[in-house]
Every structure is written in C-alpha cells, then in structure tokens.
C-alpha cells in the first residue's frame, strides 16, 4: 500500500476540524440564537432569527448597552433535532465571547441543549418550549420567556368550558412533545371537573403528524357527540382536521391550542371553514397593547413586509432584550451574575410581550392567555 488513504484521510480530518478557532473579541456583546433554521420547523426558525435581528437593531439604535457596546447576534441552526440541538449548544458554549443564548423552539430539542448550557454555566432562555418538565430540573441557568402547557391547560378548563357551557369534551393531540404535553395538562386541569361530574371527556386520542387523512378518527369523534373539541397540535394538521370535520358533519366548536391557528391555518382551511374556530393562546403580536410591541412590530414590518404569524418569534426577541437588559443593568457578562439577576431582580420589566419576570425555577411570570376566534374576514381577534 503506497502512502495511502490512511494518512491522507487523517490529514483532511485534522485540517477540517481545526477550523473552529474563536475570532478576536470586538467590543460588542455577543448574544447567541439557536433555532430550527432548517428542518420541518424552518418557518418558525427563520421568523425567530428575523425577530432577534430587529430586537438587536432597536437596542443598537438607542446607543447599545454598557455605555455604547453594540449587540451582535450569532445564529446557529439546530434543524429541530435533539442531536443537532446539543451540537448547536456546544458550538455556542465553545465560543467564549458568547454571553448568553436564546435557545430554541421545540421542547425535545431544547432539553439536550439546556443540559449543555447548564454544564458550561451559560445563561440560556427558551422561547418556543412549553413542556412543563423543562423547569422541573432546578437548573440555575435555564429560563424561558414563553408560557407553560399547564397554565394554558388551566385556562381551557376554567374559561373555555364555561364559555361554551360544554359537558362533553373531546381532546385530540398529535403525539408531539408539545401537543401531547398540552393535552395531558388540559386533561389534568379538567380532572376536578370530571370528578365533580360536571363534564365528561368523551374522546381522547392522537393523530399521526405529517399525515393528511383524518376521516377515520374524526368519524369516531363525531360518534362521541362532543360539545367542544380541543385540538392541541400544530396548524398544518389543524387545517386538515377542520375541513375534514365539516365534510363529515361535525358541527361542535373547534378550539385549537396555541400552535393550531395562524394565518397559514386560515389560508389552508379557507376563510369559510376557518371562521368561527377558536384558539387558546398567549397574546398574539397584533394584539400586544404595549408600546414596546408597537415599536418592534413596526420595525419588523418595515424590514420584512409582514409581522410574525406566531407568538414564538416575539418571545425570542424578548429573550434577547432581557439578556441585553440584564447585561446593561449588572454591567457584567458573567453568567452567574446574570442568572442571579434574572431570577431575583427582574420583575415587571417592560417587554414586547408584556412585563417580564421569572419565577424561582426560571418560568415566565404572569403570561396571560386569551381566547381568540377567527372572524369572518379571516383575522384572528380576541373573542372573550
């Protein structure tokens, strides 16, 4: 064997691997963003990236932080998968100049990533991760700006059932981390009512995400004769379910979870089917009454032509803002200091999605939920 492929192979591998040396630190504050830029949630990832760019621009226009330091956003794609989630986190943690990280959409991707951030003691804030368990691990460096499944489940149990005075409730989820989590929390929240006998869960099953045909489970659902039907999955399946439900004669009101209804849903289902569909959701960008929201959305629309169609990118922008705010107020980039500050001294700080505060476990305090409905012009408005 001539000086063969072995040596050649090793040489190439070493060269490729040593590309990752860190760059010289400029006088900027670097904040990382990790999100599904590619993969099945590429749409959410791209909107989050654009929102963080706008948030950074707004801060920099106002003179930056810590006396003039500019915010630099460093984006890493984690393709919406657990393994690449961990790799992306490792990449950001490895770059010493990254102060903290806005970390990612999708609970099962955020989990391995947050493990790495915790091990390397780096503040990371989730923006599209509602699984309750993420903040049950008493991590010191993990926070999230979005709400939790259980609070949305309680909202459904307390408010929605009373609004429709519904006795027979059908819950359908899509076996994803988010969808199943919300369905189980809602079932838990309804348990007291079920025990009291005031309501009855007549249908509880899952559909397979990515599929198109749901006539069969829907026929079962119709036979269960529910008075309210709560679907906790994503908007792609929600649109299919609503159109196929009307096909087979299901007339009870449709209520979606906070990922079920957006302008994509209205476009696919068509206005005549979408109107009258309800959704439990955190405040949508368009309904944010806060001045910070108006300013942010105006800048976003100016640059990208339309405002984000789901709440998650807005939470990403708020995550970046609160990191910048903490760095500015503490004057330090050390994660230990920042984590303590975020946990103890941040409450009621004005943000795009309303006043920001974190609980002891890192959850977002006081996330209001509204009941939205699609009006006959196809807009999503607050119905209550």
């Amino acid at each position: 064997m001539k000086i063969s492929r072995y040596v050649l192979m090793v040489g190439v591998l070493l060269l490729v691997f040593s590309l990752g040396t860190a760059f010289a630190a400029k006088n900027t504050v670097v904040i990382g963003l990790q999100g599904p830029i590619t993969g099945s949630w590429a749409y959410e990832g791209q909107m989050a990236k654009q929102s963080c760019e706008i948030a950074a621009e707004l801060i920099n226009k106002k003179g930056g932080i810590m006396g003039g330091k500019m915010i630099e956003l460093r984006v890493v794609d984690d393709a919406g998968e657990p393994k690449t989630g961990a790799l992306a986190a490792q990449k950001l943690v490895g770059q010493k100049d990254v102060v903290a990280s806005v970390s990612t959409y999708g609970s099962s991707v955020c989990e391995p990533a947050s493990n790495i951030y915790e091990k390397f003691k780096k503040v990371n804030i989730g923006y599209g991760v509602t699984a309750v368990r993420l903040t049950q691990r008493d991590f010191k460096f993990f926070f999230r700006t979005c709400g939790r499944d259980d609070s949305q489940g309680r909202f459904f149990a307390d408010v929605v059932t009373k609004k429709f005075a519904a006795k027979r409730i059908a819950i359908m989820h899509d076996n994803t981390a988010f969808g199943k989590g919300l369905a189980e929390d809602t079932k838990g929240a309804l348990q007291s009512l079920v025990d009291a006998g005031t309501i009855e869960i007549v249908y509880y099953d899952a559909i397979t995400p990515g599929e198109k045909d749901f006539h069969v489970p829907l026929t079962n659902l119709r036979e269960a004769k529910p008075e309210v039907w709560y679907f906790t999955g994503y908007y792609a399946e929600a649109a299919l379910l609503v159109s196929q439900a009307r096909d087979i004669g299901i007339t009870c009101p449709f209520v979606g979870g906070n990922a079920a209804i957006n302008d994509e849903f209205v476009k696919i289902a068509g206005i005549d089917l979408a109107k009258g569909c309800f959704m439990t959701n955190e405040p949508l960008p368009s309904d944010l009454p806060y001045p910070e929201a108006k300013e942010f959305l105006a800048a976003y629309k100016a640059k990208f032509g339309e405002i984000p169609s789901s709440p998650w990118p807005i939470y990403a922008a708020d995550a970046l803002n609160i990191i910048a705010y903490a760095v500015d107020k503490t004057g330090s980039v050390d994660s230990e200091v920042l984590a303590a500050y975020l946990r103890n001294d941040v409450n009621g700080v004005p943000g795009i999605t309303g006043p920001i505060g974190f609980t002891e476990q890192g959850d977002r305090e006081g996330v209001p939920f509204y009941l939205y409905v699609v009006d006959d012009k196809g807009n999503i408005v607050v119905s209550e």
Partner: protein
Amino acid sequence: MHVILEQLINGLTIGSFYALIALGYSMVYGVLKLINFAHGDFFTLGSYLGYTVLVFGSALITSHFGLWGGLIVAMTVAAVSLAAVGLIVERLAYRPVYPAGRLPAVVSALGASIFLQNTIMVIWGPRFQAYPSKLIPNVHLQLGDIHITLLQILILLMSFILMGSLYFIVQKTTFGAAIRATALDRDTASLMGININKVIFFVFTLGPALGAMTGIMVGMYYRQISFTMGWNYGLKAFTASVLGGIGNIPGAMLGGLILGVLEMLGAAYISAAWKDVFVFLILILVLIFRPTGILGEKLAEKV
C-alpha cells in the same frame, strides 16, 4: 352500521392513493428489481406542479377550458413533466449504478429522493401550500346517514379508472406481456426480442406520471401539500406494494386498498395513535406466512 360503511369508504379512499403510488414502485421493481425511493418525491413534485398550474394559470385556464378543463390541463402538465423527470432520474441516478447490483441502487435512490425533496423545498419554500379550495364545489351528500363528499366519489372513481386502465395495459395487451416477461426474467425477455429499453422507458414514464396525477388528486382532496409528504406516502405505498407481492401490478393495487382498510380498522377500532403499529404488525404476519406477499408467486428455489 352506517359508521362501518362510512369508515370503509374512508379506508378505501386512503387505500386508493396508496395503491396508485404503489403501482409506481411495483412497475419499476418488476422491471429493474430496484426500490425506487424517489417515487414518493415524484408524487410530491407532481402535486406541486399541479398547484402551480392551478393557482397561477387558473384565470387563463378556467376561462378557456372551464373548471374541469383546468384540472385536466394541470393533470397532463404534471404527468408529462414527471414522465420527463422520471427518465432523467433513471438515466442519471440509476442506469450508471444498476450494473453494480441492487444495493448501490438503493443508496442512489435514497440520494435521489433527498435531492428531489430539497429541490421542491428550495423552489416552493418550506411552508405548506394550499390548493385553491374553490376548484371543486365541496358538495356534501347524505346517503342515509352516511356522510360522503363529491370529491371522495370523484377520487375513488378516478383511482379505479387509472388502476383499471393500467391493469388492462399490463394484463391484456402484448406490450403488457412484454412488461410481465421482463419482470420475470430480463435476459430471457431480451433474447425473445423484447426491447428492454422500451419497457424501461414505459415504466419510468408511466410510473412517475401516475404518481403525479395521484399527487394532484391528494392536493385537491386535502387542499394542503408539503414538501415532505412524499416521504410518508412513499413509505406507506412501498409497504403496500410489498404486501401485495412486490413487482406484481394487481398485487400493488390490492396491497394499497388492503393497507388503507387496515389503517382504517386500526384507527377506528384500536386507537388512532397505534394505527401504524397495527398496520406494520399485519404486514409482518402476512409475510411470515406468505413470504412473497399476497399475490407474489412462490419462487421455488431452483437448486
């Protein structure tokens, strides 16, 4: 009682889509003994092409050809272009690899599948596209208390027409005999004067064209398409073609319909969440007792 009947129709509708796509797998496998993983993406590409024709050309087309005309134009455009794509893929991805045996061809097919899937994503974007819903008036019919839509009947009708015509071509015409002969034994068939390239040409144009038409039907029926749907439908259709006896055209049709009904039974009577587990268990049981699928002929090992 009416529920079972209604569920049966639901099952058959899903099954007819699987059957039509499974035909593409079985034809290509029959002639080349190759699992054409890219076939699922032919189906998606056909659907997207139909979408583009119907959305952008709709004003022009419907005015000239009327509503049904628009659909037919979309179908032909998608079918013809997919026939071309099928040939290109065969020429570029399969022909050079094929002599090296069947396994490299599987990897090449997987490569072609990813390539096509991402090309669709790059061209049409990662977001879901919605078929124009006003195309087919969504009339609800109520036979007794069975809910069935006009679209469902149309789909079932169209699928059986397509399947019937393909069955007729393959089973009853001389060219069909040539295809079956090539499927049984390529070398002997070519010795008997059958032009193998013509058969391959036929298979790699008709298969993708059929897939494209199915893609448009799915787009019309569900009104929502995504660039990854080819992967799910392809996997199910391939399962159906093996269930029916891979390489066997009637087998693919039967396999598809049975798979649809099995899914219906799983979802309706077990649980929608466990439906696919149920389907794959049945498939494995069938193959344990009939190792070459339902209609697959028993290949006695010639020692």
